[in-house]
Amino acid sequence: MKRHLISAADLTRGDALLILDTAEELAHLADRPIKKLPTLRGRTVVNLFYEDSTRTRISFEAAAKRLSADVINFSAKGSSVGKGESLKDTALTLEAMGADAVVIRHGASGAAHRLAGWVRGSVLNAGDGTHEHPTQALLDAFTIRRRLMARRASTAGARGAGLDGLRVTIVGDVLHSRVARSNVLLLSTLGAEVTLAAPPTLLPLAVGSWPCAVSYDLDSELPKSDVVMMLRVQQERMTAAYFPSVREYSRRYGLDAARMARLPGHAIVMHPGPMNRGVEIAAEVADSVRSTIVEQVANGVTTRMAVLYLLLGGTEFPATGVAQ
C-alpha cells in the first residue's frame, strides 16, 4: 500500500481487499466490552478539519482512539487564506509536532495532495472539495460486501471477496460529489458494475472516460440494481441552473417508496449522509429495512481503523487475539 490514502485510485484490488478484510477483523472489537487495542499507542493522529463535518471527524477520532493513538483535533474553519495561515505553514506546524498521520478535510480539491508534499507522516484524505473521499468509498464497499456478498461466500463471511458482478447505481449530483468519484474508482476496482444516474447537468462532461456506465433515467436502472446509492443534492445547485426546481429533481431522481418497490428484493439503499429527506430520498425509504444508512456510520469507524492501522503499520495486531 502507498504511504498516503488520497484517492481511491491509490488502491489496488489487493490493497482494497486487505483493508476490507482487516476491517472485518476489527469489527468484532466493537462487540467486546472494551473496544480498544493498543496497536497505535504512542502514535499521533491529527484531525485537520477545514470544513465542519462532525460526522467524519468523530468517526476518525473514534477509530484512532480505539487503536490507542493520541488524537489532536485541529479545527481550521474556513479557507486557509481566511484563517491567515497557509496550508503549507499549518503542515509545517503539524510536522514539527510529530504527527504520524494527518487526516485532512478541506474545501479545496487537491488539498490532501498538496499536504502530502509538505509532511512526512501519512496523509488520509477525509474529503477534499469536489475531488475524493476514499474512506467513504471503503466503508460503502465494506457495507455492500457485508450485506450482499456474505451469503454468496461459502465460508467465513465475506473475507477475501470482492464485489464482482454487483450492480451499483449512484444517483444524483455526481459533478460535485467526492463520494461519487471515490466510489466509482473503488467499486469498479473491486469488480462491481457501476452506473451513474443523474441529470446531464450534474455529470462531468468527460464522464465517458470513467470506469462506469451513465444513465439519465433512474427508473430503468432500478430493476437491475443490487445497490442504489443516493447522493445529497444541495439546494443551491438550483440557482446555478443545474435543475429547474427541487420538486422536479425529486420527481425525476428522488428515491421514494414507489421507486424503491421496483428494486429487486435483496437490493439495498445507501446514503453517505447527511440526508435531505424528501428531496433525494423519502423518509420511508431512509427508514426502511433496505436502508444501510446507520450501518454505514458504524462501519465507518471500523473501516477507518483498518486504514489507520495499515498506513501506520501497527505492530501489535492481531497478536492481541481479536476474536475470529
Binding site: T130, H131, A206
Partner: protein
C-alpha cells in the same frame, strides 16, 4: 573573442553567423556589423578595424525578439517582478522589446501610468518597454479608459487590453474597436466568457472531471473569439486575440482571416508544449489562464502557428511570488513565467518538429508581434540600415533541463525539469549588447 586594442565607439562585428531566410537551404555564414545603433553592413567579407568581434560560428541571428504580452507587475506587485528584473529576463530570452500588460496596481488606464511604465523601461535599459493600455477603467469592463490620451502620451500606446479579464460586454467591445481606429490602435482581447467560467480552474475535460475542479470549457474562449471576429468585421477595426489555447479558436480565426477580416492572434509557448495532464498532481505551477488544454489542441495550435493563422508567439510571462503558488490549487494565482524559455520552447515545439524554419521563427517572434503592436523600430528583418536589435541563438546547444533560477524575480516556470534545446547566446539592443555569452552584459 573580443579585441580591445582599438575600439570603435562600441561597434560590434558578429562573425560567422547565419541569417535564416525562408526556403533557403544550408544558409551561408556571414558577418553583421553593428554601429551607431543600427546594422551598418552585412556580408561575408565585412570587416571594420577596431570593432569588437563576436565569433558567432554555428549561431543564427534573428531580428531582436518582440513580446506582445508581458506582465512586468510594476507598479504594484514589485514583489513578483519589476520592470528592471522583467526586462532583464526578457533580454536573456533574446527579447529586444516587450509589451507591458495593463493589469498593474494602479491599472495602466491613464496616460500617467503608461508613461511611468515607459520611463521605467527606458531606465532599466535591458529592452524596450512598450506599455499596453487598459480598455476599460480599472479593467472593470464598464467604461472606456481614456484610450486617445494614452495613445497621444509619451508612451504612444497602440495596443489596448484588459488582459486577465475579458471585455465581455459586446457593446463596449464594439465601441472600443471602433474608437481606436482614429489612432491605428488595436484591441487585444482576453477571450473568456465570464459566465461560462465562473470558478473555473482548469480545462474542462477528463482532468477536470477526475480532479474535481471546475472546468474552463473551450467554448468560453471560442464563443468570445467568434463574436469579436464578427464585431471587428462589422466595424472594420483591428482585433488581436490573446493567448489562443484551443483547436476551435484556431479554426475560427482561420475562418475570419479567410474572409479578409483584420484579425490577428498569438499563442503562448506553454500552450505549444504542455497539456492539462500535468495538472494531475495539483501543482499550481501549471495553473494558467487560459488553462493548459489537450494534446489535440497543442497539435492544432502548432499547425495554426506554422500556417500563419496564428501570427505570433507571445509569452504571457506572468510572474508570481512563491506563496501565490505554494497553496491549494483553487487558491493559487493563474500564470507562468516564460520570457527566458520562449525561444527554446519554440525550437522544441516548432523547429525540431519540422513545422517551422528559423525564418518562420523570426517572423512569429519578432516581425509579426512588432507589426501587430505597431511598434516602430522593431521587428525589422536583418539588413543594412535596420535597427541594431539582434538575437544570437545556438540551436545546436544540447538540450538541458530548465532550472527555475533566472533573472525574473519569480520562479513559477512550468518548464522546470523539462529538457529544452538551444541557448540564447547574445542579445543586442540598438547595437549594444544586453546579453553576452548567455549572461546579462
Amino acid at each position: 573573442m573580443t579585441n580591445n586594442a582599438v575600439t570603435d565607439n562600441g561597434s560590434w562585428l558578429i562573425r560567422g553567423v547565419t541569417i535564416p531566410a525562408s526556403g533557403r537551404q544550408g544558409e551561408e555564414q556571414t558577418s553583421i556589423l553593428l554601429g551607431s545603433g543600427s546594422i551598418t553592413a552585412i556580408g561575408p567579407d565585412v570587416d571594420h578595424p577596431g570593432a569588437r568581434i563576436l565569433d558567432a560560428g554555428g549561431l543564427i541571428a534573428l531580428p531582436g525578439l518582440v513580446d506582445l504580452h508581458t506582465h512586468l507587475r510594476e507598479p504594484g506587485r514589485e514583489d513578483a517582478e519589476t520592470v528592471e528584473t522583467g526586462t532583464a529576463a526578457a533580454a536573456l530570452g533574446g527579447y529586444a522589446a516587450v509589451h507591458a500588460m495593463a493589469n498593474t496596481d494602479p491599472v495602466a488606464d491613464t496616460a500617467g501610468v503608461v508613461e511611468q511604465v515607459w520611463r521605467l523601461g527606458r531606465t532599466a535599459g535591458h529592452c524596450d518597454v512598450q506599455p499596453v493600455g487598459a480598455v476599460t477603467v480599472g479593467l472593470n469592463g464598464t467604461r472606456l479608459a481614456e484610450l486617445g490620451t494614452m495613445a497621444d502620451s509619451a508612451a504612444r500606446v497602440r495596443v489596448f487590453s484588459d488582459d486577465g479579464r475579458c471585455v465581455s460586454d459586446p457593446l463596449l467591445m464594439r465601441r472600443a474597436l471602433e474608437y481606436v481606429k482614429a489612432f491605428d490602435g488595436v484591441i487585444a482581447q482576453h477571450a473568456q466568457d465570464p459566465r461560462l467560467t465562473e470558478g473555473a480552474q482548469l480545462n474542462e475535460g477528463e482532468m477536470s472531471a477526475r480532479l474535481g475542479l471546475a472546468g474552463w470549457p473551450a467554448v468560453a474562449e471560442e464563443a468570445v473569439i467568434a463574436r469579436d471576429c464578427l464585431l471587428a468585421a462589422h466595424v472594420g477595426s483591428a482585433l488581436h486575440v490573446c493567448h489562443v489555447s484551443t483547436a476551435g479558436s484556431a479554426e475560427i480565426i482561420r475562418w475570419a482571416k479567410s474572409k479578409g477580416w483584420p484579425v490577428t492572434a498569438e499563442v503562448t509557448p506553454h500552450h505549444l508544449l504542455l497539456t492539462d495532464e500535468l495538472t494531475a498532481g495539483y501543482d499550481p505551477v501549471f495553473k494558467v489562464n487560459p488553462p493548459l488544454r489537450t494534446e489535440a489542441d497543442v497539435a492544432e495550435l502548432r499547425r495554426a502557428l506554422a500556417d500563419g493563422t496564428i501570427d505570433c508567439v507571445a509569452t504571457d510571462h506572468a510572474p508570481h511570488p512563491v506563496e501565490a503558488k505554494e497553496t491549494e490549487w483553487a487558491e493559487a494565482a493563474f500564470g507562468m513565467t516564460g520570457l527566458e524559455t520562449a525561444l527554446r520552447v519554440v525550437q522544441r515545439a516548432m523547429v525540431d518538429t519540422g513545422l517551422l524554419d528559423w525564418a518562420g521563427v523570426a517572423d512569429r517572434m519578432s516581425v509579426g508581434p512588432a507589426r501587430i503592436g505597431r511598434l516602430a523600430g522593431h521587428g525589422i528583418p536583418l539588413a543594412p540600415g535596420a535597427p541594431g536589435h539582434v538575437t544570437l541563438y545556438d540551436p545546436a546547444a544540447p538540450a538541458e533541463a530548465v532550472t527555475p533560477a533566472g533573472a525574473s524575480k519569480s520562479r513559477n516556470t512550468p518548464f522546470a525539469g523539462i529538457e529544452l534545446p538551444g541557448r540564447v547566446v547574445a542579445t543586442f539592443l540598438r547595437g549594444v549588447p544586453t546579453v553576452l555569452d548567455g549572461k546579462l552584459a
